[in-house]
């Protein structure tokens, strides 16, 4: 097995899929000659040419909709948003066109498309460039929402997303592209959309998380092990559909849960997970469920304030101690 960065894994996934299926093309800002704003599409223009790796004007609504139309006409587009922040300009095409087409047409037009790009905060990019898009899209029936945390999962899930016959929102992370590196099999593999993964087994408490927060949660779990608390880390990997059975199985074992995510606390993924747990595993709970998230503010620029807003391993560990009545 080779150790790949998160970025390299995504690049390999697209390259392999484009070699396999010539109906796949990539469109987005700087995806071609520039090699991708974050170099995720590096080298693909040289291999596949401009019709399959298309540099778009800065017109998110336009090129996202172009992707939807091309998908309706039989192609399999990958629309790269430089970041999900800019995708807000295109949300009409993602929600009103892509997500609803199959239903509005009575099952005649499915939309096999992947919308992908980095979400969430990076380093001091301030309010407009630092937000987690996960709940906005997870709210929408007709979309699938994927947010992997490792290079291994990123590759297997992106390949599944590209092969999926429905629109998939694929959320990456600027801070993971380089820093996250792990083993990726040489041979082809797919990871099914909608399946969570236990990233660490434990008996005392369940930490439910996804994307960047998986790494914060694993760091917290390591720290907690030294205190005698064995945390189980459930990486959702897919937000929609959500692997509720995997969450419930873990909570029924540990009887305690902490739900962690990067974004804002109101109406977020954690709110949904907590509801699923209380509805289906109420009698298994030994403590109220705790939630860890970013603070309920637009991201400030100042370094110290950004640090204050962003959830970290310390916050996760503190929440775990709280539900374990260990502090």
């Amino acid at each position: 097995m080779a150790v790949l960065s998160y970025r390299e894994a995504l690049n390999e996934a697209m390259r392999e899929e484009m070699e396999r299926d010539d109906s796949i093309f990539i469109i987005g800002e700087e995806v071609g000659e520039y090699d991708g704003a974050y170099k995720v599409t590096k080298g693909l223009l040289d291999v596949f040419g401009e019709w399959r790796v298309r540099d778009a004007p800065i017109a998110e609504l336009g090129f996202a909709g172009l992707g939807v139309g091309a998908a309706m006409a039989g192609l399999r587009p990958i629309v790269e948003f430089m970041t999900w922040n800019f995708a807000l300009l295109a949300i009409d095409e993602v929600v009103n066109s892509a997500a609803k087409m199959y239903q509005m047409s009575g099952g005649q037009y499915n939309v096999p498309i992947v919308f992908r790009g980095p979400g969430g905060a990076a380093l001091q990019l301030a309010a407009q460039h630092s937000q987690a898009p996960d709940p906005w899209y997870s709210y929408v029936p007709g979309l699938k929402v994927v947010a992997p945390a490792t290079a291994h999962d990123a590759k297997g899930l992106l390949k599944s997303a590209i092969r999926d016959d429905d629109p998939v929102v694929f959320i990456e992370g600027e801070m993971m592209y380089n820093t996250v590196k792990d083993e990726v099999p040489e041979e082809e593999y797919l990871i099914p959309i909608g399946k969570a993964d236990i990233k660490r087994e434990g008996r005392d408490v369940t930490i439910v998380c996804h994307s960047k927060m998986v790494h914060q949660s694993l760091a917290a779990a390591k720290q907690l092990a030294g205190e005698g608390i064995e945390a189980e880390v459930v990486d959702l990997r897919t937000i929609r559909p959500l692997d509720v059975p995997a969450v419930l199985a873990s909570v029924r074992k540990t009887n305690r849960a902490v739900v962690v995510e990067e974004g804002w606390p109101t109406c977020n993924i954690g709110a949904q997970v907590v509801d699923d747990i209380q509805r289906e595993a109420f009698d298994h709970l030994d403590a109220p469920i705790a939630r860890v998230s970013g603070l309920d503010v637009p991201m400030p620029y100042a370094k110290n304030l950004e640090k204050l807003v962003f959830p970290n391993a310390e916050h996760v560990a503190a929440a775990v101690r709280h539900v374990c009545y260990a502090n």
Partner: protein, 372 residues
């Protein structure tokens, strides 16, 4: 105060009074574009079918048979008929929410369009779409779309797919005058022009975006000028009340698309005789009765009828028969729709995902016994 670009003498003259032909461009005398008598009769038949179908729709809407919004096409028939008839079956069509006529004239059976209006399983979208969302994949009819302007990028993507595969089809995209002020319009025209995509952007300028005269909200004397900024885009205005003029313009645009892979932007000047939707009277708050009457004097069906009568290509009897057939077809469509079943409750989850609705989400609704 800046009055914008200096006005040409022509523009100044046009503003002086109510222009002849309600401001529509003059159309040169026609030889019917080389169409046979039968082809001309077919155009007339389609326009009559559209008219009578919409009148029936209005009638059953008033009876409560059709729900939601219902935007009628009466008055604009020359545009759909002139634009859709020169297409090949493998071309693509996409349109906005005023889509009944486009659906019918692309070839969806009146029964199927009416059943869709009724929200029944035999509708062309199985009752899932309704008035604004007619689809038929077998005819490359890619829908009625309800968000103003949002289907223009889709049309651009269809054009991209055509070029990608090296085909010689075109994508015909209908939209209304309010779209020219939307970003998606410019983003689409820009990409289609830059990448040479065979898309025909067909603007149906019926003077009003809902209840707003386009002149009140648009900083352009002529909407066709909005296309002139884009290199490689052919922009022109035609008389949208003249089916032959529309057909000629679209035929030429099809040729540009097939052979030169170039997009076109056609403004068809036309008028809707009814309100914006069934909820809106034909005149009153935002337009006067005499204006509607003035445009009614230019009725595209009566004008084409007269043209064919004068040319000896139609008899009064033939016209009467075509009209009666259109009425009978519309009646039969309503009778069919009335008898078509409502969708089964199970259909509520059927078309959300093409690989089936996920149990993990569905379990959140499991307490609702009527769904089990």
């Amino acid at each position: 105060m800046n009055d914008g670009p200096s006005e040409s003498p022509t523009a100044a003259t046009e503003e002086a009074a109510v222009p002849p032909s309600n401001g529509r461009p003059e159309t040169a005398a026609t030889d019917f574009l080389g169409m046979s008598r039968e082809e001309c009769i077919e155009l007339l038949r389609l326009m009559l079918l559209s008219r009578r179908f919409e009148e029936k729709s209005a009638e059953v809407y008033q009876m409560g048979k059709i729900g939601g919004f219902c935007h009628l096409y009466i008055g604009q028939e020359a545009v759909a008929a002139g634009a859709l008839t020169p297409l090949r079956p493998d071309d693509y069509v996409i349109t906005a929410y005023r889509d009944h006529a486009q659906a019918l004239l692309r070839g969806i059976a009146p029964e199927s369009v009416m059943a869709e209006l009724y929200g029944r399983v035999d509708g062309c979208s199985k009752g899932m779409g309704g008035s604004m969302h007619m689809f038929d994949r077998s005819l490359n009819f890619m829908g009625g779309h309800g968000i103003v302007g949002s289907h223009l990028p889709l049309a651009t993507g269809v054009g991209y797919a055509i070029r990608y595969r090296g085909g010689d089809q075109v994508c015909l995209c209908f939209f209304g005058d309010s779209v020219v002020n939307i970003g998606a319009f410019h983003e689409s025209l820009n990409m289609a022009s830059r990448w040479k995509l065979p898309v025909i952007f067909l603007l149906e300028n019926n003077e009003y975006g809902m209840g707003t005269d386009f002149r009140r909200v648009t900083a352009a004397k002529e909407l066709v000028d909005r296309g002139r900024a884009y290199d490689g885009l052919t922009s022109l205005t035609v008389d949208g009340m003249d089916v032959i003029a529309v057909r000629q313009a679209v035929e030429e645009a099809i040729e540009r698309g097939r052979t030169e892979k170039r997009p076109s932007y056609i403004e068809a000047r036309c008028y809707r005789y009814m309100g914006h939707s069934m909820a809106d009277p034909s005149h009153g708050t935002y337009r006067k009765r005499d204006e509607v009457e003035r445009w009614r004097a230019d009725d595209p069906i009566l004008a084409f009828r007269q043209l064919l009568l004068d040319a000896g290509r139609l008899t009064e009897e033939e016209y009467e028969r075509l009209d009666q057939e259109a009425i009978a077809q519309s009646e039969a469509a309503a009778e069919f729709a009335e008898k078509s079943p409502f969708p089964d409750p199970s259909a509520v989850y059927e078309y959300v995902y093409s690989d089936g609705y996920p149990d993990d989400i569905g379990r959140r609704d499991a307490w609702r016994k009527e769904l089990s």
